[in-house]
């Protein structure tokens, strides 16, 4: 089996992202909460590797801490989607064709039918903006993704011989789902999770643009980018750095996810990217 170059690129970019977040836990060049208005919009140089923002904060330090915020938001949002969506999908598949299955699938369609960004705005309008509510808003729309994927993958397994054997052995539907189906769909779920993870990072940026998402003083890539919009003519680096950070991380995660899929399922190997 050949490891695709895209998987390596993706793994490196994703790893860099995680490393940044980890490093920020123990060290940042500057304090990200300390403002120095007199020192604002300094271009990249020796003192500040990536320059400073409109409050004179060190952008490199903010990118490091922002990686942590992104991971936290995306991880929990995808986690919410999986924790609720996967059991729903498993149960639906185990009772395929029943009213319960129908209810879950109709419910999924219903959630999908709601305009995501408008609902996110409403959620934050009700509970107030903040990382937690951004997570809920993104997480809700991850539930049907995982429910549907799990159901689809599980359905094909239910007709397989080894499941039939388990049923003949007297195992209940729930137990089979847990012991036999779940392990067999976990690769598919893992791949989807990396992709949803990257989408959640993009979603956080979109929410930040409309003023939602993580609140100051916690640095977030999305808010850095949104706040830097108006500065681009004044100090382009302020808008370019967080933008490139988001693009390269999302790119990395997507490449990694695709690469993983090919690795897990060589049958589907479709070449590059």
């Amino acid at each position: 089996m050949r490891v695709a170059p895209s998987l390596i690129i993706g793994a490196v970019l994703s790893l860099a992202f995680v490393v940044m977040a980890l490093v920020s836990l123990v060290w940042t060049p500057f304090d990200v909460t300390a403002l120095a208005v007199g020192n604002r919009l300094v271009p990249p140089g020796d003192a500040h590797w990536l320059g400073t923002d409109h409050f004179g904060r060190d952008i490199f330090s903010m990118i490091l801490v922002g990686a942590r915020t992104s991971i936290a938001v995306a991880l929990v949002a995808v986690g919410v989607g999986m924790v609720i969506g996967v059991p729903l999908g498993l149960t639906a598949a185990s009772r395929a064709g029943s009213w319960f299955d129908d209810l879950i699938m109709r419910g999924n369609d219903l959630v999908f039918a709601f305009p995501a960004l408008i609902i996110a705005i409403l959620i934050t309008a009700i509970f107030g903006p903040g990382a937690i509510n951004a997570i809920i808003a993104i997480g809700i729309f991850n539930i049907p993704v995982f429910a549907r994927l799990t159901r689809g993958a599980a359905l094909s397994l239910w007709t397989r011989d080894f499941i039939l054997a388990a049923r003949l052995a007297g195992k209940g539907r729930a137990r089979i789902s847990l012991e036999h189906i779940l392990p067999n769909v976990s690769n598919t779920l893992l791949v989807q999770a990396t992709i949803q993870f990257s989408l959640a990072i993009l979603a956080e940026a979109g929410l930040a643009y409309v003023g939602l998402g993580a609140q100051p003083p916690v640095p977030s890539w999305g808010r850095m980018l949104a706040e830097a919009q108006t500065m681009i003519a004044l100090a382009p680096h302020v808008a370019l750095v967080p933008g490139l950070a988001i693009v390269s991380t999302v790119l990395g995660l997507n490449l990694f996810g695709d690469g993983l899929r090919d690795l897990f399922d060589p049958r589907l190997q479709r070449g590059p990217a």
């Binding site: 219903l110 039918a113 305009p115 940026a205 949104a226 919009q229 808008a239 988001i246």
Partner: protein, 315 residues
């Protein structure tokens, strides 16, 4: 078949009812009073009370919900709290921007995606495939408002090929199309990236199918097999994705509408939320949900008509 239709119709109506209840209740718990928003800081309690009465905000909850449903059933969405014009008129006017913009973006995205996807599939694992798929990955990874802003700076501020935003109306179709071009590009690129990837993998899957192999065995070249047999079948998932993207483009353009200050449906909803014009918000959301659910319903029916096996949901 009748039974199937009946079941699906009942489930459609139930979905719509649940959706309307969810929307209504969510907006009820939304903090913020439309009357206070309209009258501002210096207002008196009497003026507030008078306005609340005038807006019909004093009626009990169930009465307002049923009134809203009954109105919608006959196409009456009520009068906007802030704009003081019928909500239906507002929505129709905005659709004249949002609908063409969504169609424009979808057309652009299709025009980009299908050739790129086909080219990549035809050159599977080649240099073209590799670079095309790399570009689509970047297209997916771009935050849309950032990309839109770069487009504005390049094409409106520096090159002055397009205006920076706004919408001149359809009296002058040329100007209208030009005004929608940059926003359509900003919307289309990420969608095209996704679509091109779907096109490519769907085509590769079909090329591996037996009938295509047979065709090739019969002496058709790879290109001939691709065009004559594979492409048509490979388009089915692409069209499905396009349907999903269209409804997304209709509702999901809030950010792009904001960057280009376009009077579209998404921005109407966004502004209505901040002004607590709840009657507008719930009608816009309801219409969007209605559109998506109904499209899904019609697609299900169409599939069932074509393929009777799908009438039973069991595996």
């Amino acid at each position: 078949m009748t039974r199937f239709l009946l079941c699906r119709t009942i489930s459609l109506l139930a979905s719509l009812l649940v959706a309307s209840l969810v929307i209504f209740l969510v907006l009820e718990v939304l903090p913020g009073d439309p009357a206070r928003f309209m009258l501002g800081l210096n207002t008196s309690p009497e003026a507030l009370a008078a306005l609340r009465e005038q807006l019909g905000l004093t009626a009990p909850l169930p009465a307002r919900y049923l009134g809203w449903l009954a109105g919608m059933a006959v196409g009456d969405f009520g009068i906007s709290y802030t704009y003081r014009v019928p909500v239906a008129d507002l929505i129709v006017e905005r659709l004249w921007v949002s609908l063409p913009l969504a169609l424009y973006a979808l057309t652009l995205s299709t025009l980009i995606a299908i050739p790129v996807g086909v080219l990549a599939a035809a050159n599977r694992n080649g240099l073209i495939d590799f670079s095309a798929m790399g570009l689509t990955q970047i297209g997916i990874a771009l935050p849309n408002f950032w990309f839109a802003m770069l487009l504005v700076l390049a094409f409106a501020v520096n090159l002055r090929w397009f205006s920076s935003g706004g919408f001149p109306g359809w009296q002058d179709p040329g100007a209208a199309v030009r005004a929608l071009t940059l926003p359509a590009i900003a919307l289309a690129l990420p969608q095209a990236s996704i679509l091109a990837r779907v096109m490519r993998s769907s085509l590769i899957d079909t090329l591996d199918e037996d009938y295509v192999r047979t065709a090739r065995a019969k002496g058709l070249t790879r290109g001939q097999a691709l065009w004559r047999h594979a492409l048509r079948n490979a388009l089915i998932p692409v069209v499905t994705i396009m349907g999903l993207q269209f409804s997304f483009l209709l509702a999901g353009a809030i950010i792009i509408e904001n960057v280009f200050y376009l009077p579209g449906l998404g921005r109407l909803a966004f502004q209505a939320i901040s002004a607590r014009d709840l009657i507008v918000v719930r009608s816009v959301v309801m219409i969007l949900v209605f559109a998506v659910i109904t499209i899904t319903f019609l697609v299900d029916i169409a599939y069932a008509l074509i393929d009777p096996r799908l009438r039973r949901r069991a595996p």
